[in-house]
Amino acid sequence: MAIRYWPMAAAAVGFRLVLVLFGGDLHLASRPEVSTPLTSLRRLAEGYWLKQASVSPYSGSMYHGSPLLLSVLGPLTNSRPDGHHAHIYCSLIFVAVDFLAAMLIRATGHKLQMARNRSLKSIDLTKAVNDTVNVSAGDVASLIYLWNPWAIVTCVGSCTSPIENLMVVIMIYGACSRLAPLAAFGYVMATHLSLYPVILIVPVILLLGYGPDAPPPKVFLIKGSSASKSDVSDNDKTTRQRAVQQFSWKPVLHFIFWLFILSCHVLLLSSVILKKVGGLHEMFEKTYGFILTVKDLSPNIGVLWYFFAEVFDFFRNFFLIVFNMNIIFMVLPLAIRLKHRPCFLAFVYTAIVAILKSYPSAGDSALYLGLLGLFVNELAEMQFTFFLFFGYIGVSLLSPVMHNLWIWRGTGNANFYFATGLAYTCLQTVLLVESVSSMIKHDRKLRLLVSS
């Protein structure tokens, strides 16, 4: 599959620019699928206005984002050129941010590809595996990210999701290329902006410790034992032993050091920004507290809003704990099963977060679908792809129609819209389960190929 990368990437950026400059009537910012209470730029503008008026940006229940964004994007929301929509400068920044994220995904893909080729070479399977499917994963992933309609809609739709996504991508790139400070920066910022990436510490540490994705250690052991039976030169042996990486503590400690420094830095900056207008305590309550306690029940593509609108008040706290723990529960088992593929683990975590987070949006899906492209070679045998592809298309068309039916026409009700959300969650779950199981199948295939 020959992909002309640069023309396609340039076309994607051009398309975004065209939509930003001439698509003022799309009203994407008001779509519940695109902007959530956390990421809406309209709310950010309101928060900035409050702050300018020497009131806490968190007063009322308008703004729930980071104070750093307030001082970076805030001034841009104020100026409004004639003939364009309100947040044109921010949108232009988001286009650049998206492009940067795509470039980083591409670089990550190249790193993964190199690691993959190295490990396949060390177990002598390059020919058997690479002959079937060998496409440049980085290019594919980055193009998926650039051309994903949801990423485009998120980018054009005036919400801060592209920045959150960029931070996650920076973290993964930094960890893949073992740049501890960069990884720490991405991690701290991503956590600061949207809290949920906090669980990504597991894949980051694994990446820094073991290096990028490789076949399971068992494969190398089998190869090693079968090789030791026959006569092999010493040179080969040493490369194989090097392929089975030991956990190296140095980059991890480096990462933790930088994590500490940067966290302090971010907190300090936030408290400086919020100095006279509420303090850090209010920030934690209105951002993380707002995320964890699901206070805003306006409809979105997730399922939590409906659930918490229906649940009895005295059960509310219980279910809050249940739903938040749900994410935590999956961290450890997946980490144990996929510890040899930390990058894939990061993808799985982002997908789980996108399914279970309290205010999901299309931007979250755009991120994990982009990351999914990184494993295009490993997932070549994935099942139900046809069904999933058209399912995603169907749901993303159905969702606005159901919303219109409920809110504007009045011939439907909340259940209609919620049903789409439910279908969407099911699709995401199927995608996740299928991708994990086909990755495990891929590993099993490698083992069988080696042992035979």
């Binding site: 698509g23 009537d25 799309l26 009203h27 058997a128 002959d131 079937t132 499917v133 070549a380 045998e381 994935m382 099942q383 792809t385 046809f386 069904f387 592809f389 058209f390 298309i393 169907g394 068309l397 159905l398 129609v401 159901m402 219109n404 039916l405 504007w408 026409r409 009045g410 011939t411 439907g412 009700n413 099993r444 295939k445 069988l448 190929l449 042992s451 035979s452």
Partner: protein
Amino acid sequence: MEYIVGLLCRSGSANPLFSTEDAIEANRFMKGIEAVAGDSRGVIGMANFIAQQIEALGAEVCYHKFLPHSKNFHPLKFFTSMTNDIAVQPNGTATNFGINTIGIVRAPRGDGKEAIVLVTPYNSQRVQSNELLSLALGFSVFSLLSQAAWLSKDVVWLSADSQFGEYAAVSAWLNQYHNPVFLSHSVVLHTKMYGANHIYDGNSEKTEVTAFKRAGTMAAALIFKVGETRRYSDRDSVMIYAEASNGQMPNLDLLNVVHYLAVHRQGFRVNIAAFSSLLSSAWLRVIAEILHTLGSVLRKINPDWKLDIAVPDYVEGTANLANSMYNQALGVPTGSHGAFRDYQVDAVSLEFSPTFHVKNENAKSLFLLRGGRLIEGVSRSVNNLLEKFHQSFFLYFLTAPSKFISVGVYMIPFALLLAPLPIVAAALADGSRSMEKTVDKLIDNGKADDIADILQSKGGSWKWLRAAKVLLVIQLWAVLVSLLPYYITQIPDATPMQSALIWAVLSIVVLISLSVLFGSPYSAGVEWKLLKATMITSISIGLGLMSIINFATAQLGALIVIPMCLFSRPLKASGMNFLPRAVLLASNIAFAVLGFPPAALLIMKGVSKGSWSWTIDVGDFWVWMEFLWEWSSATYLYLFLVHLPCWLLCILVLLHPCRQSESKMKQE
């Protein structure tokens, strides 16, 4: 539901208060306005007279000036156009404007949160006696309601100036009512309407009249007008129109109330629109006869089966149903009630057809009495309702004014039509399944030597991606084609014929350039089975979506599209006996011709005319499409984003060279 309807009817029909005195009042009003209409002052004079009369009743009054709204196609504003219009264009001056006169009665027992709207359209430029009669009717009901002590909802009487069409007047007023426009001072000065200032001349409370006045949320709206006199009928009749944009209907309860009061209390004959060609068609009568005979036989077997529908009932019901479906599928409102539905207000239009001559005073008084009582009854029913009409009964087709087919019934055949699509798609897309299983088996057995060979021959489970690419390119083409009219309409002085030809040529050019850009659909070696699977999946998504937006369109579209999809098979594909292959071929070609929108339109026109001598006029297609997008009908989107790509894919499947499968067979 029936309980609510029963309750409404009882409350609405309790001894009507509309008396002969009100009828006399109406006559007096009519004489007055006739005198004014004959006057030279025209527009302003009539509005002024109505306003004076309303003020004399002690009700509030205001005017609403509006300019004709030029409808044009704007692709990005397809669904949002209703809310973003500015009624007054900010540039230029206008000499030609309409004036709606609005009277508001504040409910003595209400809190002003809800309102009932009565609308009487009249053409201020060319006044006709029947329109004056409907104004008189409106006024007399309004004057009765202004004295009613039991009123709990405000009553708004809108006498809509329909010189630019009824819909334009009502929708301009509704737009101003719901989306207030705050124009800067300079803009207001700029759009000075000449003559508009005369209106306030002899009026001391100038500011009070100029200000736009509002009542509460609209609970329901009733549009009534007196139509042309019909001599041949024995009873005065009422025609009910209910279809709003995109097949939306008002709540069935409102129709039921109107029907019940009109038929059982006031003795009107109630009609809904029907396809007149079906009423007189012979074949429908034959089918009805057969069904009737079958039904009566069945009735003899079991008296509980009431299947013997009388022949005229069946024919009339079918004609009504066909018209109801057609109007819903077209997605264009049948009257000014459509403007209300855009704001989620239930509304229905009543057109009275009196059987007397307008000069006949006695008959006119009687008619006014009965019409007034009907409208009073409906208003009382709505007035006594505590909540908005419940949302459950919006989806139905009408077969008679009092009979309907509910969504629960009509969804079943549609679901049955749609059901084979996912199954066929899954079967086609899963073609390589058997091969995968062998690989799994081999892996399980540990025969790794063979695995590599098989892996090499296999394209993975992502083979459908190429077919999906073809689909996406075709969808892109369809989007471009549907947007082209926006640019074509910019060409000045183009006849429909020219526009249609430009459209067709541009579409073909775009198609060719896209296939150059992305590669021809066959060059990548797409299997036709996968292409068909993709097509079927996309069409099931499209039809599913459309059935939510506008069911009637989806239902009618499915009748053509689904067989077209399911039968499609490459002409060159082998592996079938002669007879089934010939039948498939013939049906394929027939559907390919039928499925092409212009051809379908031509055939439909021929059938509806009933004659088989049509002249081929490409311009008609353009005119028809223009009509659809002017009204922002979702049917336009359906035709171009669902139907047309599907048709093109079908053609692609038909012309598929089948080279790949042959080469594969040779390999095996």
